[in-house]
């Protein structure tokens, strides 16, 4: 069966420090991968998605970046965190391909607090 791992679960970082959140998927190959940020009253905001290694699409210009160094690994990064980067970050994956079952499966999320 497929599983998705996201870590850490909580993180407190000072303003100006770097960030690296990691997400890995097991039990499937060539998935679509997603990073979302969930904020109260704003739903799930799609930040980045990837359809393959090294292929990253950015949805919202901001202080964050994403990378996909391996097929089932998706990393969310920042060189210098801002206070406004605080939030709940969710990684998700889905099967790839037209007509396939494309529901998303979510990780447990990371609560990031920038202080």
């Amino acid at each position: 069966s497929q599983t998705i791992h996201q870590w850490p679960a909580t993180l407190v970082q000072p303003v100006g420090s770097p960030l690296s959140l990691e997400c890995t998927v097991e039990g499937t190959s060539n998935p679509n991968l997603y990073w979302y940020r969930q904020a109260a009253g704003r739903g799930l905001q799609l930040l980045f998605y990837s359809v393959g290694i090294g292929q990253i699409s950015s949805e919202v210009p901001q202080n964050l970046s994403a990378s996909r160094p391996q097929d089932r690994q998706f990393i969310l990064s920042s060189k210098k965190l801002l206070l406004s980067d605080s939030g709940f970050y969710l990684c998700a994956w889905s099967h790839r391909g037209r007509g396939s079952n494309t529901e998303a499966f979510f990780g447990q999320g990371t609560r990031l607090t920038v202080v």
Partner: protein
Amino acid sequence: AQSVSQHNHHVILSEAASLELGCNYSYGGTVNLFWYVQYPGQHLQLLLKYFSGDPLVKGIKGFEAEFIKSKFSFNLRKPSVQWSDTAEYFCAVNAINFGNEKLTFGTGTRLTIIP
């Protein structure tokens, strides 16, 4: 670009009342449609999904949704709600375009059921 609109931000109902949550999307091509639910303190889970065929889909816990292509809508319904349905509900659309599958969520509807 695809987008999802959930016009009801907060809905308050009494137990046994009927529920309908609105969801409209903007995308002219083939779509897969989803409703996710997030119970208090829990992670996102899939409620139901539409890929093709019968536009009336049934999900878990007595929920159903109807895809009306001409209206670009995918409203969620339940004939009689229970207190345990208190949660946040998210509509999502996956625009199926070969090599570019992006899952976009609405801002969510918070549902409060009064016993």
